[in-house]
């Protein structure tokens, strides 16, 4: 698959050496890492240096009150999806590392009430002020 182009073995080795990283899994839609404990700031800094583009972050509500956060990165022609998990529905912000994370995190804060620690401005982005934070959690 052409998905792999741009993701070298040296890159993979450095990604696997990040704090909290787990094994990489190859799927049809690119590489996946299920790493609930990963240090997202270290990951974002590493990806930023490697000219990785943060495509988006997907928030998925969990029944235990936490939120899975899937960081979708594009490196060259390759896609890397890293699934992290909040603690107490909070996680470190990567907005100070990558500009594009600013709005992405604000939106997830609106919809899933995730507290991004260190985010410069978590004011409502898409949420109407009449609605409470985290209204996407109610299915």
């Amino acid at each position: 698959m052409r998905e792999e182009i741009g993701v070298t073995s040296a890159f993979k080795a450095q990604l696997l050496a990040l704090p909290g990283a787990t094994a990489l899994e190859t799927r049809r839609d690119g590489l996946w890492m299920l790493a609930p404990e990963i240090d997202v700031v270290a990951m974002a800094t590493f990806m930023h240096r490697a000219e990785g583009r943060l495509s988006t972050v997907t928030g998925v509500a969990r029944e235990d009150g936490e939120t899975d956060l899937i960081y979708h990165y594009i490196i060259g022609r390759g896609a890397i999806n890293v699934k992290a998990r909040t603690k107490g529905n909070g996680i470190a912000s990567i907005a100070n590392v990558t500009q594009s994370a600013n709005w992405i995190e604000r939106e997830i804060h609106d919809l899933y009430s995730v507290n991004f620690v260190g985010h410069p401005d978590l004011s409502p982005l898409v949420r109407p002020v009449q609605l409470p934070e985290g209204f996407f959690r109610e299915r």
């Binding site: 698959m1 052409r2 998905e3 049809r28 839609d29 690119g30 930023h48 000219e51 583009r53 943060l54 495509s55 988006t56 997907t58 928030g59 998925v60 899937i70 979708h72 594009i74 022609r77 896609a79 999806n81 990558t98 500009q99 594009s100 600013n102 709005w103 919809l111 409502p124 982005l125 898409v126 949420r127 109407p128 209204f135 996407f136 299915r139």
Partner: protein, 359 residues
């Protein structure tokens, strides 16, 4: 003395509601605040309350201009989780519709840009040309806006009269080659109005994560059509269009040349389109538990869909990331130090879609 100018959420120069607060000193822009969310419809949440078939109709309403790419990406995501292979003819029809949509979207943008530059004659030329494309879309799908062409496992309608489509596309190509593209590439008025305006460097583009023609105009060679195997772009020899300057003119040039590439892809696809079924035979499809991330190239850039299934007839999660959502924040980098009078042109050069952005 610094001052602030609020523009929007409702303003004659804006097609859709959003708000910018421009911080100026004299005529020079010092900073900009952007507010979105005026079109928020919670489509992702609604998609988790409807079944897979109903969601096709829903996601088609994410955007009025690039409705086809949303159903396409959604269908690709469902097909990826369910392990469905679409028939080759369906892939060609999907590609033709996607490129027709890009063509009409770029022509719409070219018309708006011409009007903003103050070039009314070009605006009329472009919109007359766009009607050829709209007629083709209508003749294939029966609709001018929401085409309802994609279904899970293929497409709903076949392209029967390929000769008529080819003739209309030929007329579009002639108009593009004779008038529109040369004007955008060489006309001194267009050059004077766009050169050096709204600069976005490659590094800034990477930091903001911009996509589509905005990224390609800043020297970032990123296009899902060449980066990833989807539909039949590789069979048709897709050629990516890039520029290095990163200004409004570079965005104009990239879009103008992309229109010619879209025309070539449509003509080539019509020539090579194989026979056979246009969708899988099963009417009711089971989607097993699983998840998938699918990307496709919309007229404004990369669209991302994340879909998770729990095995029921309703998706557990549908995440939609539209290109304008990542492109809009880069206006900050483009506008600082620019003249206030260039603000409408800088914003228009993004080809923003706020309906998409807010979802």
């Amino acid at each position: 003395m610094p001052y602030k100018i609020p523009i929007g959420p409702y303003h004659p120069s804006l097609d859709e509601p959003y708000k910018t607060i421009v911080h100026c000193k004299g005529e020079k822009i010092q900073g900009i605040d952007i507010d979105i969310g005026f079109n928020f419809r919670a489509i992702e949440l609604l998609a988790q309350r409807r079944n897979y078939i109903q969601d096709l109709t829903l996601v088609e309403r994410v955007c009025g201009i690039c409705s086809c790419v949303h159903t396409l990406t959604y269908a690709l995501a469902v097909e990826s989780v369910a392990g469905i292979e679409t028939p080759p003819r369906a892939q060609y029809i999907r590609l033709i519709m996607a490129e027709l949509e890009r063509l009409h979207s770029h022509l719409l943008w070219a018309g708006v840009a011409a009007e903003l530059i103050g070039f009314q004659t070009l605006f009329m030329e472009v919109f007359a040309l766009r009607e050829w494309v709209m007629d083709v879309l209508e003749s294939i799908s029966g609709n001018r806006v929401n085409y309802a062409i994609n279904c899970i496992g293929g497409v709903n309608r076949d392209i029967i009269d390929t000769a008529a489509v080819r003739a209309a596309i030929c007329e579009t190509r002639k108009g593009l080659e004779k008038d529109v593209v040369p004007v955008f590439l060489h006309n001194p008025t267009v050059r004077a109005r766009t050169e050096g305006v709204g600069l976005l460097t490659r590094d800034e583009g990477l930091d903001y994560g911009v996509v589509g023609p905005v990224a390609r105009a800043s020297g970032i060679a990123s296009d899902v059509r060449s980066d990833q195997l989807y539909l039949v772009y590789d069979e048709l020899g897709f050629q990516i269009v890039t520029a290095r300057e990163g200004d409004v003119r570079a965005r104009v040039v990239v879009r103008a040349l992309e229109m010619l590439e879209s025309v070539r892809l449509i003509e080539e696809a019509l020539k090579r389109m194989p026979g056979g079924p246009i969708r899988v035979p099963e009417l009711y499809l089971e989607v097993p538990p699983g998840e998938a991330v699918v990307r496709a190239e919309a007229p404004r850039g990369e669209v991302v869909y994340y879909l998770a299934s729990d095995g029921s007839d309703t998706p557990a999660r549908v995440k939609i990331r539209t290109p304008t959502f990542v492109n809009i924040p880069s206006v900050r980098a483009m506008s600082v130090g620019q003249d206030l009078a260039d603000m409408p042109l800088i914003q228009a050069a993004l080809d923003p879609c706020y309906s998409c952005t807010d979802r």
